[in-house]
Amino acid sequence: MPPAQLLAVKAKFAVEPPGSLSLPLFEPKALKTSDIVGKAAEFALDKNDPFYVFGLPRKMLLEFRLMTKPTTVVRGVTKESIELLQSAKDKSSLDTRVVFTGRAGCGKSFLLLQAVEHCVAQKWVVIYIPRAVNLVNSTTTHAYDIRTQTYLQPTFSFQTLQRMLTVNDVALRKLTLQTSLQLEKREVPAGTSLAELIEIAINDRSRSVAQAPLILETVMRALEEQTRYPVLFAVDDFQSLYGKSKYRDPHFETIHSYHLSLPRMMLEYASGRRKFNKGAFVGAISCSDTNFPLPIELRDALGLEYDHPMSPYDKRFKPVFDYTEGLKAIKVPEKLSVQEAMSVFEIWKNEQALADVVMRDSEGRVVTNYDEQFLAKYTQSGGNARDFVWGGILANMEA
């Protein structure tokens, strides 16, 4: 075929360039509309968003790297969670300690990210730990502290302080210390803003990393007491905080996660031993990592199924069991609804993840088989979100 004619044919069947779908923004006013459920929305991100600063769980990061713009589908459970957080805005975090549960790949981490983004838009103070497993898998420094009788994690504490400052700069500049803080070489007077306190730590990095756990503790206490901004503490890989860590003490005995400073802090907020005067604690379990499976105590507390037939001899560890007190489970539906799956399919079709299968019928009209592909992938994956995207759309071999 002559080149000019080829180009004309290609132009006729040209698909839109990737990322050209015009989607509403994932923002509070769009989420209030009732017809947003089942539709896709684009995250409205700036450079200081938790999405970039705190990071993402590993599998979600891969998915967002493939997309032109970060998009997500608003589900029924998204609206419910957002309504829960709206009602939690003026209440203590004791009343809102929830954990997203569900089978592997059903969308718990995505839902947690949606909750985080919503709270950022609503000007909450947000602390998001996307990979809590990194606190317990012996990948960060630890050092025993005789005062707290726990193992402090200075490097992770320092990183968390830096990230909190970047994401919540406006709020932390307005909140101040109620009492003075004595550091190694200086005293930080009462009335200093939390942002200034964290900047003192960042500027004097060589000395501050060791004192980062103390500074983080002070900042968290100040956030607990204040009532100006609600605080969201979101933790993914939540189940990894409830078992034994991969750390070993000097006697080579395994260190339990509640003897590590940061996991202990999260467990205290989750169990209600510590609370924010205004805010919520939200966790999401992960079924992906077999090194940190869902422990039996958490299954009991959240009413989840057991992985083996239970007997009266199955042991529960009391300290861990006590840290599960008051947690409520929000079950994420196992299957995407057809409308939700169609929106996901539309996003990836626009990203050109699917083969451009455009044909003509006997009368010369253009037909596509996207509907066949959609139904095939949806049925094969059984509606499971991760299987639908990774095992269905992105594993598509049709040429």
Binding site: S138, A143, I146, R147, T148, Q149, P250, H251, F252, R264
Partner: protein, 169 residues
């Protein structure tokens, strides 16, 4: 580059596996040494603090004379830490005073650790003992042949090369 007992540990290696370069330290002993020094599994040699390096070097130079490790208390779920005005030195002194009152047995497996020249000497002494008592094992070492019942009709090249009375000398 960190030098411990004359052995160079490359900076970009994980500390837990770099320690296996020491003769007599395998993976399990290296893991135990890292735990003793509070070095996490993914720590690289360049990230070791000077205190950790000197503690490691002083421990490995004489493991038997190292003081027994204290067993520090770990916080129960309802533990409330003392106020910041209490200094670490006071708490440490209090803990050591309580510990002195108790007789603590040192059950640390690393206290009998033998490395480098001591270990080589022990191996040579074992072979020399076998020879002295006139055992089969001693005779095979002396002849430079396999010791553990391997075939000699063919192969046995390693034994012929390495088996001596002053093996690993």
């Amino acid at each position: 580059m960190v030098h411990i007992l004359g052995i160079n540990l490359p900076d970009n290696h994980l500390a837990r596996f770099a320690l296996t370069k020491v003769y007599g330290v395998g993976q399990h002993t290296a893991h135990r040494l890292c735990a003793r020094l509070q070095v996490h599994d993914r720590c690289k040699v360049r990230d070791l603090s000077p205190f950790q390096v000197t503690s490691l070097a002083s421990f490995l130079s004489s493991p038997t004379s190292a003081p027994p490790l204290p067993r520090y208390p770990l916080a129960t779920p309802d533990y409330v830490s003392p106020p910041l005005s209490t200094s670490t030195q006071e708490l440490q002194a209090e803990f050591l005073a309580k510990r002195k009152a108790k007789k603590v047995k040192n059950l640390d497996p690393l206290k009998n650790l033998k490395i480098e020249s001591e270990l080589r000497r022990e191996v040579r002494e074992n072979i020399a003992h076998q020879r002295m008592i006139g055992s089969y094992v001693g005779r095979r070492h002396a002849m430079g042949l396999p010791v553990r019942g391997q075939n000699t009709q063919n192969n046995a090249k390693t034994a012929k090369k390495l088996n001596k009375l002053d093996r690993h000398g």
